[in-house]
Each structure stands twice: as structure tokens, then as C-alpha cells.
Amino acid sequence: MIRLGWTEKWTLRFAVVGLLCLAVAGFEGTLMRIDQYNADALRGMEALLNNIRPVAQAPTQAEVFYSMLSAHPIVGIYGFAYMLVMGAFYFLVPFLLQKEIRHKILVPINFWLQIIGVAICWSSGFFLMFNALYTLYWPLPVAYDRVPVLGSIGFTIGAAIIMINILLFSYNIFSTVVSKNGTQQYSIPAFIRSAFGIPRLLKRLGREDKGAPNMDYNGMPVFIVAVGRGSIDTVINAFVLLTAGALILVFGLAKLLNITLDYTAIDALIYKNWFWWGLDMVADGNVLMYTAGVWYLLIPLLVGRRLFGENVVRTVIMVDLLVSMGVWSHHLLADQPQPMAMRIISGQLITWGEFFTMGLTIFASMMTIWLARPIKLTAPLKFVLGSIFGFIMGGSAGLIQANTGLNVVFHNTQWVIALHAHAMLLGGLSCLLFAVVYAVIPMLTKLEIRSQRLVDLHFWLWVPGTVLMTMVMSRAGSLGMLRRTIYDASTYTPYTGVAIIGALLIAAGFVVFLVNIIATLGLANVLSLFLPESWFTRQVREAAA
């Protein structure tokens, strides 16, 4: 048995639950692809599962498919990615700043609220057949002839819990960064001013406030700068999604009370603009800044050289924050009532701001590695390179579709969800989180990763599997295969078949990863994270006797 500290234990707990969620999301994704490939393949399983669904009528195959499709991104993003980010940040932020988490009580609260929120969203899909997808386009979530009212209420409550939890997490991170050994050093508003570069601007104007926190030209670690600036987007995202959720909840509760509310009172276009403005704070904001921050943290540690162009990347992170606030119209390029000027400026040109910020981020990361030659290609460094590759692949696809001309043939096709979203999530973000796991476990436990061969196998199953799955579906999408659409036997069936092979490679890579991690930590240590310590102590004592 290894002795783990309080923080280390909680970080590993977040990681274990996050990885379980990744497994669930992957299983769901594969089931949906199998359903697309052969509509009869899963009938037996569906009939069995219908026995435990508390609905009067057995749901149709399409209802099951779309309910799963609604739950899938919640489990993947908020169950997997956010759980791992929370666990990693709760270890790395205090570690880098050499001080404790400001509100320790919030750590287990964040852990449980995230699990509860994701479980409620998932259950609203699985049991109550909520099927309005994560996009929640108005007025679909309140169109109760299509979406069950209880499912709509359940999903909204689950999502609200997640968003409130994210606000609590961000508050804890902010207050940890601005606190100094228990005494407030800076106020949060001062920190936010710093995130937007106001102190730097004042310095340029000759009115420098030397007492103000500053992210641009003092010793604050660049990872903390990325976390601070990225968390502003996290907070805005949570706030906007909460308002959308509250609206849907009001309609749901009114329906239960037999009060009819007029859904046309809410303009679908304004709602869509508001919703995507908030959602893109994650999709085009914090994920890029957090990712950049983790690259800037891990790469210098792994190659033993200071980050290339460190002061430039601080500015790049701030530009990323500003860009993320103006890109949302790329989701509305196919909406003809959206003014063309908005589509061109916000949807296309500002979105290209990410090309510059990510381009410079990747350049700084790659230059750091290049200048540190010769380097040892360790497990985390391999996955850092994998994540850079994933972001290049997914980011390029994103820029191609965020285009007033090309979006006419790419909007809502498999191109968008495969080569953009899943390349970003499975290639970019997941590889990055694997790199963090491979780097942080030895820091937490003083144990070396058990098998480098299994690390290689993990890499060479996961990355090519992702490339195969996303490339083949992007080809189908570029021809016109729609996302969110169930196809009977069609031109696109063979593409789906090949994508299933890619998914199986990804799944095999994940199993290899789990085997290696459990072999590194020891099963007893993993179980001890979730079982009472006294029970384990007794077992060890009895074994010794």
C-alpha cells in the first residue's frame, strides 16, 4: 500500500471517475455507430433495457438513439474532461503556487456534485427519454409532443447542478490563486482586470499600479495565467447555460402545473445566439487556454528547458480570451436570418483568430521541444505530441467549416462532429489528459509508470484509431452524410463500418491504458481511494498475521 496525501487522493478519485465516464461515453458512441450500421443489431439489448425504463410505452429505436445522443456529450465533456481537469488543477495549482487550496471543503463537494449532475443528465436520457440533444435549440426542449416533460426537467436540473458546480470550482481556483497563505492577497475583481490585461494597458499609459496582480510581465507561472484567463470563459459559459436551463425549467414546471406558456415569446434566433455565445466559451475558449497552459507546464518540465517565448504566449492567452468572446456565429452560418455581417465577421474572420493563437501556441510548444534536443520521448511527451497533432487536425477542420462559403456543404454533416469535434476531443484533449495522467501519477505517488511498452501500445492504438474513425466519417460528411440523422442502409453504411473499426482500436488503446495504470498503482491502492481506510488497515493487519 502506498501512503497518499489528502490532495493526491482526491486528484486520483477525480481521475478514476473521469476515466469511467470516458469508458461510458466511448461505449455509447460505439453503440450508436453499430445502430447506424445495422438497425437490427441492438434490438435484443434494447428490448431488455426497456424493461427497466419507467415509461408507459416502449420507446422507439429512434427515441433510444437520440436519448443516448443527448446524454453522450454530457458524459464525455462534463463527466470525463471536466472531472480530470478538476482533479489535475486541484493538484497542480497548489503545487505550482506552493500553497494550499483555499477552500478544501469544496473539493469533495465538487467531486460529488459533478457526479450527481452528470448522473441526473444521463438518467434523464436513459430512463426518461430526454432527446433534445445538448444544443437545446429553442423551442425543442419545451416541445412536449417530442421531448418528455419529466426528461426535460430532469436534464435541466442535472445540467444546472453541473454549471453551479463549475462556478464553485472556478471560485475555488480563483481564490486559491489570489490568496497568500490564508490571507487574501488580491481581490477577485483585481485578478479579472489582470486577466484582461488592464494593468499592462495602464502601464503603457504611464499609470502603472505596481500593487495590482499582473499576468503579463511578472513571475506568475504561465500555467496559472492560462488557468486564470481560461476560467473566465468557464464562468461565463456556466452562467449562460444556467440562464438557458432556467428558462427550460420554468416551461417544464408550468407544464406540470397545467399552465400554458407561449414559447414563441422567446425568439429562436436570439436564443441561439445567446446559447452559442456561452457554449463557445468552452468549445473555443477555456479548452484552448487550459490546453495551452498544460502544454506550457508539461513541456518545459519534460524536456528540461524553459518555455520558448514565454512572455509572448502570455499575450497569446489573453488574445485567446478576447477571441473566444466573438466567435459564436460560426454555429449560425447556415441560419439565413443571422445578419451576413455577423456571419462574416464573427463566424469566419474572428474565428480565424484561433488560427493565430493556436498557431503561436503550437509554435512555442514545438520550439521548446526542438531547442531542447536531444530529448527523451517519455510517455507524457508522446501524448503531448499526440495532443498537438489532434488539435492541428481538429482545428484545421474547424476553420474549413467556419466559412460562409464552405459551411453551405459542411454544416451539420459528419465532417463537423468527426473531423472537428471528435478529432479535438479524442485526439487533442484526451491525449493531453493522458499526458497529464502519465506525468502526474509519478508526482503524486512516487511510482514509475509500470510498462513503457503498454504506453506505446496505448499511443499506437488510440491515435491511429482516432485518425481512422474521424477521417472516414469526415469523408462521408464531406459528401453529405448528416450528423444527428439515422440512416437506413445507404451510401454511407460502409463508412460507418470502417469507423466502428477505428472505435474498436480506440477502445483497445483505452483498455491497455487502464491495465498499465492499475498495474502501476496496484488494484488495492485504486480500491483504497473509494473504500474506508480502516477496512484496508484491517485487511493488511490480518494478512500480516
Binding site: N131, F356, L360, L399, V409, G480
Partner: protein, 146 residues
Amino acid sequence: MEGNHVMDVRERRWLYLLIAVFLVFNVITFSPLVPWQQWLLWSHPAPNKSFSIDIADYQMHFPAGGISVKAGEYVEFVATSRDVTYGFGVFRPDGTLVFQMQVLPGHQNRIIWKFDKPGTYDVRSTEYSGPQHSAMHYKNVISVTP
């Protein structure tokens, strides 16, 4: 120089390359090299014909006389939804996509198109509107003659 705010010369060259890619890609895709940009973005021609498509309760209602157009003429499609968001997508018989737009309720959703190849075309909803969305597929509803 590394270590201060001035960009390293290598990084500056990389930035110039990024700017070049940005300019080339955007100039090309705003230009009529993407054929439909010529009329969607630049010329805004008066359509030769206009067809209204009314959508409600998962059903698309096409004009009574059908949709018959000539290759090379500008046609306007005006889609309206009476309940939720749908999509209006035109597909070739083999399932490949010609063009599409979103159909937002409470708004008139207009797009002008010029078909260049004669034949028949399908229409299907390109946006999820509820569990019966995938069945919103109408075969051979557009006829394009030479």
C-alpha cells in the same frame, strides 16, 4: 529576443506564414472560386422563381405544382417552420449534399440557388427536430430540366 515581449525572429516568420495562410484561404473562399459565393455573397441576383416550403409537425409541405426549375436559373427557396427548428437540405439521389440552410421558427429562411446539372433531387431536413427527424426525407421533389 527570447525572454522579453519582442518576438523571436523565427516566431515572427512563423506569424507571417500564418498571416499568409489566413489571407489566401479567406480570399479564395470569399471569391467565386467557391461557385455559390458569386450569388450568395456578391451578386444577389433577383431569382427567376421562388418556392415556399411550409414545415410543421415533422412534415414539409411543398408547393402544389411541385418544384420544377431549369438548370442555370436562379431559384429562391423560402422555408418557414410553424413549431421547432428544422433544416432544408437538397440532396442528389445518391445521398450527396448540394446545399442546405437552417429553418428557424418565427423567421423567413431564404436561400438562392443555381442548379447546374439536370435531374431530380431529394429534400431532407438537415437539423434535428425530435425523434422523427430522420424520416423527414422527400425523394425526387425537385426536378431540374436542361
